[in-house]
């Protein structure tokens, strides 16, 4: 058992193995996210009942909550990748971390923007410096810092190690975000979507939210793999399997147009 696990772990260290495997996963992830997001958003916008207090404006929850959950999950992933990068010096985790940071940043941004739009009709303000909103803004700055650090150092391995340290240090912010609404008095309400307890909304509102959440996760996985595959090709461009792959591909694709031009 331990041996297979170890072998599996070592396989992840191989960019070629990753490239082949992720290529097989991509269409499934794309399909799953497309179906879930499509069904989920139609269900959420057209068929889920409106809220007794907020009316239809509560429907922004279907974007806000998945984006906010994913923003934190992506950060946790970034921190775990950071630990592996620092301890085991794996090239693949460096690549995945560079691929992950911008997606996490955009999810955080989406959560902040949708939350702000939601705040106007319900709270009566765009922004308030309460613990939840502020810690979420700190998360966005952490993401931006990590991205800047990844970009600022030319050698990809040193860049990955520097940004890994920032990612690990910043992980303290995640429990602060999660428990901010319980530890302090905030304007933001406590979590509605809970996996461990009974959700604070009826099934016909909760199921589309679950659907959207699965869709967001699948989309995240898909875009993470897409970006990582791109990075793999760039970083491995001198290796034999990449040159072979690139030689093989354009020949079949761009042949007709080439001949037509000449």
């Amino acid at each position: 058992m331990k041996d297979t696990l170890l072998r599996w772990f070592h396989k992840w260290g191989s960019p070629k193995w990753f490239y082949d495997l992720s290529g097989r996963w991509m269409p499934w992830l794309a399909g799953l996210s497309l179906i879930c997001l499509l069904v989920g958003s139609i269900w959420a916008l057209a068929f889920a009942p409106m809220d007794y207090q907020q009316g239809n404006s509560f429907r922004i929850i279907y974007l806000h909550v998945p984006a906010a959950i994913l923003a934190q999950s992506a950060y946790m992933l970034l921190a775990i990748l950071g630990v592996i990068t620092l301890v085991w010096r794996m090239k693949m985790t460096e690549i995945l971390a560079t691929a992950c940071a911008p997606i996490g940043a955009s999810m955080t941004f989406l959560a902040l923007v949708t939350g702000s739009l939601w705040g106007v009709p319900t709270w009566g303000t765009w922004w308030i410096w309460d613990a939840r909103l502020t810690s979420m803004l700190v998360l966005l700055f952490l993401y931006l810092g990590i991205m800047a650090l990844q970009d600022a150092i030319r050698d990809p391995s040193s860049a990955a190690r520097a940004s890994a340290i920032l990612a690990i240090v910043g992980v303290i912010n995640i429990p602060i975000i999660k428990y901010s609404v319980e530890w302090w008095y905030t304007l933001h309400q406590p979590a509605t979507f809970k996996l461990t307890e009974k959700p604070a909304m009826p099934m016909e509102m909760w199921l589309p939210l679950l659907m959207m959440l699965i869709g967001f996760y699948a989309f995240f996985a898909w875009s993470l793999l897409l970006r990582a595959r791109h990075q793999v090709l760039i970083r491995e461009q001198k290796t034999r399997w990449v040159t072979q792959l690139l030689d093989a591909k354009p020949a079949t694709k761009s042949d007709p147009s080439e001949s037509a031009k000449s």
Partner: protein
Amino acid sequence: MKPQRKQRLIWIGALVIAVAFAAGLTLYALRANINLFYTPTQIAAGEAPLDREIRAGGMVVDGSVKRADDRLYVEFAVTDYQENVVISYDKILPDLFREGQGIVAIGRLNEEGKLVASQVLAKHDENYMPPEVADALAAAEQAKQAATANP
């Protein structure tokens, strides 16, 4: 695991614990400032300063909302089920404002302990339900109250 890697892992663990400790102490030291608002109990106990802008939060007391006839001026009490604070406000209230709703008011306390608000924000809780369910719940609550009132 190779000793070298183990050592690196230990260093990372130590780093995380140190940072968590530092963050925990900072948040503990700042705990009064991180709270968005004072509760009516804190205000009644004199914890809130008189001369500067503060935020007060609580539930709007049922039947306490008094509106002026000729202008927007409104007075209401908020409670944390221990103490009450009277708040006055002269602008448009948010849509979610109603009796029994949680709110946060930004303003200054005057000498009588009344909060003169410059902004009122509505808090909402994590519970969502369709209007029909809310109506049914209210009807059930009324029926229960009627049953206890005349047994």
